[in-house]
Amino acid sequence: MPQPAKINDFVLKIATVNGTGSASANGLLMKALFRMGIPVTGKNMFPSNIQGLPTWYEIRASRDGYNARTGRVDVMIAMNAQTYARDLAEVSHGGYLVYDSTWPRDGQLKRDNVTVLGIPLARMVNENFEGSRVRTLMKNIAYVGALCALMEIDRDIVRTLLEETFAAKPKLVEPNFKAVTLGYEYAREHFDCPISARAEKMDATAGKILIEGNAAAALGCLYAGATVGAWYPITPSTSLMDAFQGFCEKYRKDPDTGENRFCIIQAEDELAAAGMVVGAGWAGARAFTPTSGPGISLMSEFIGFAYYTEIPAVFFDIQRVGPSTGMPTRTQQCDLMLAAYASHGDTRHPVLLPADPKECFEMAVVAFDLAERLQTPVFVLSDLDIGMNDWMVDELQWDDAWRPDRGKVLTDEDLAGMQVYHRFRDFDGDGIPYRTLPGSDRKGSYFVRGSGHNQYGGYTEDADEYQQVVDRLKLKWETARGLVPSAVERKAAGRTDIGLIAFGSSHGATVEALDRLAEQGVAVDYLRLRAFPFGEEVEAFLDAHRTVFVLEQNRDAQMRSLLMAELDADPQKLVSILHYNGLPVPSDMIVERIGDYIEQEAVA
């Protein structure tokens, strides 16, 4: 069955058992494609387990630069006998399945329109290598070699990558490359190479990098001048603090004394982590904590406290599947409501919504400025898909002229010129008072309290005094509306009264889906939200469209509710597209849902 060639446009999925070292082989494949100049994205679908459970890694090569999942699998590397049946079922019409035929399963692995290729990986590796751990690892490297033959992935690049990986242990290069060669030669000898899905050098990765969102966010913290990080380990946010620690070790040690110009504290729980961030923010440091939904639940008491006492703090929520423990290694956009209104009483918080690792970097920097400018907790709402997967993005840029916005902080000189200092008075009419930092002149001392207080900072139970403060906080919220990143609009080629609102990690799938729909003659304007509170542009977009799809990765349409609650949006025009099974949102689902809706509307 001859297939049309899928050059630089394929999905390669690897099914393995976790803890077998497949991650490095998969990374090798992805980077080799990237170095061939082909846009790639990797999505890791892994279990909440260290060793022994099934795990999948999906690499999408897209010459057009699309980075979302699609419903397609062109080549499946089935290394886990436990999941053969479902892996075979998942392969698209005309696709391939490669498996380890040391233990032949030809009878079981049969499907019309799928070519099954057996390679005796374990046997070859066992004949050539000693030691069970080495053999397990080499088996993975051997399938990389087989794919080099089958898909024309450049073996020289693979070799260079091995040399870079093992720069510190050059002795490991040869055995690894030997494993590559074993797979390569077997495939060349036994199969018609190349197969229809294959790679070809192009030039679409110049100026691009491969990076995880968590590493990029950590870089943002480093560049923004954050000095205190407190955290409690939780998937999928842990790699953010790991990365920050690594960057600090590299860039924040005093060159002479080796002293740390940072303080990272592994807290006893998320409550303490939040308290540490609030304490450090009060004392004048830029402080942050990375966590996930369950952590935000625990931090909520302090978040409300910091809102009411007006202390800057930055919270990274790398969302995972809820409710409760949920599925810690799967992705969702399920903490939107939680972050927007975290804590008891009337509380609201600015929430930034990065769409990819590049924005994780940029918005981390913005978050610290906003937190200090507004003297309030600020959330960066990332997710597991952005945080823990390698994304291809434009190289990160930094302007050396940039300086942090510390907001309204009074110095001792400022205080010297004042008769008296009052912590919560609004002099500028923007709802933002002036703060002093601990250690400043006695005249600027004040007492932080989560209990009722008046504009002078004193304790109060007086009805009017209490209300004056919370009304000013609301005014501050209006100020925030003009300071957070604006939504970005992508207009359809022609005029349309159909709109779509999406945000965060849904962006890639949305762009691809809208391109497909445009090809089918369906024009949709797209507004990508980048923050809460919503700016005027969001209201204008809603007004300008008859129907607005709201795409989000949660069951309960949280963003739609938020638009209705905050902007009084007409529920009739807001049509939800929901995806919440824990896997990154695929583009074809969006095409289908919008297509169906428009078709039905036409019939009705």
Partner: protein, 351 residues
């Protein structure tokens, strides 16, 4: 917690410390606690200790949780920044503040409910991190603000005002602090200012976490017959083991003590914490023996007071973290951000 500013009256001839400040300069707002509350005596002891040490109020940060005890930072050092946090979470706020500003002297005021129940975890971890803080637990065995429930420090057999008997075991913060590897664990009594003031001074100058459990009777809910945290009971059952005082670096030894009665624990700046043994059997440098001593006296229903354990050599929070001597907030931005070239260089590895 209504706040009433205390009028500051000055008159010629009032005593001044080396900064030229009077005791009144170390006071705060007027206390709104019940008349006779032990906590007010502790506040007075704190004022005296700070004044005697001649610390600048703006050098100090005072933090607390929630409860009667946690109101007290409003009643001393009005010139210091204060932080009344959430229930049981004072230690984490102090940790963050210390991370940012290691040059400031942190005083944490907590209570038995705040530190031994809701905040037991944070108390434990502040101790095990040896955070640079003076950690005072104003311990009355009872929840005052919610009107008289037993706290976790109430002794088994102690009776509530309305007669109910506590059957749960009591948590002793001093024994806990020693067990957790604390570097300074002391106990005192709010009614014994002579002992408390020097102990606070020693705790303030101690480089790590100085825990002082101060038995501080609640006159309204726990000062009756049958309570083991009343003024009467505490006075009858006090057993002083080791007195402590702080001796600044410049001070010459003026008083002669009998041979073997005194031990000086030298601090890194040349100052000393002077220990005076009241009970000759006691050794505050030996963890096992300290715990043994506490246990023996607990069995006799005695309230052991004094500096019960000290280890000046234990690394502190900042020693362990390797934090720069210069407070983190004092670094220029240029010293914190690696710049565009470093970013470009780093990204070469991401291709």
């Amino acid at each position: 917690m209504s706040y009433i500013a205390k009028p500051k009256v000055s008159w010629a001839g009032q005593e001044r410390n080396s900064l030229g400040l009077t005791l009144a300069d170390y006071e705060g707002g007027l206390s709104t606690l019940c008349a006779g509350c032990g906590h007010d005596s502790i506040t007075a002891a704190l004022v005296k200790a700070f004044w005697e040490l001649a610390l600048k109020p703006e050098q100090v940060i005072k933090l607390s949780g929630i409860g009667c005890s946690s109101k007290t930072p409003a009643y001393f050092l009005s010139g210091s920044h204060g932080f009344n946090s959430v229930h049981g979470r004072m230690p984490s706020v102090a940790t963050g503040a210390q991370a940012a500003r290691r040059d400031l002297i942190a005083v944490g005021i907590s209570g038995d409910g705040d530190s031994l129940s809701i905040g037991f975890g944070q108390f434990a971890h502040a101790v095990r991190r040896n955070l640079n803080v003076l950690y005072i637990i104003e311990n009355n065995g009872v929840y005052g603000l919610t009107k008289g429930q037993f706290s976790a420090s109430a002794d088994p057999g102690s009776r509530a005002k309305k007669g109910a008997e506590n059957r749960n075991q009591a948590i002793d913060p001093v024994a806990v602090a020693i067990t957790l590897g604390g570097s300074f664990a002391a106990r005192s009594f709010s009614g014994d200012k002579t002992q408390l003031v020097p102990l606070i001074k020693a705790g303030l100058m101690h480089p790590g976490c100085a825990v002082i459990d101060v038995v501080s009777p609640c006159v309204t809910f726990n000062d009756h017959e049958g309570s083991t945290k009343s003024y009467a009971w505490t006075r009858q059952h006090l057993h002083a083991a080791v007195e402590a005082d702080y001796v600044p670096p410049s001070t010459e030894i003026e008083v002669d003590y009998a041979e073997g009665e005194n031990t000086d624990v030298r601090l890194h700046d040349g100052s000393k914490i002077r220990l005076k043994k009241v009970d000759p059997d006691y050794d505050p440098s030996n963890r096992a023996r300290a715990l043994d001593f506490l246990e023996a006296h607990r069995a006799r229903a005695e309230v052991v007071t004094g500096l019960l354990y000290i280890d000046e050599e234990l690394p502190t929070f900042h020693d362990i973290a390797g934090t720069a001597k210069q407070p983190l907030t004092r670094f220029e931005f240029e010293d914190l951000s690696p710049g565009a070239d470093a970013l470009a260089e780093f990204q070469k590895g991401l291709r």
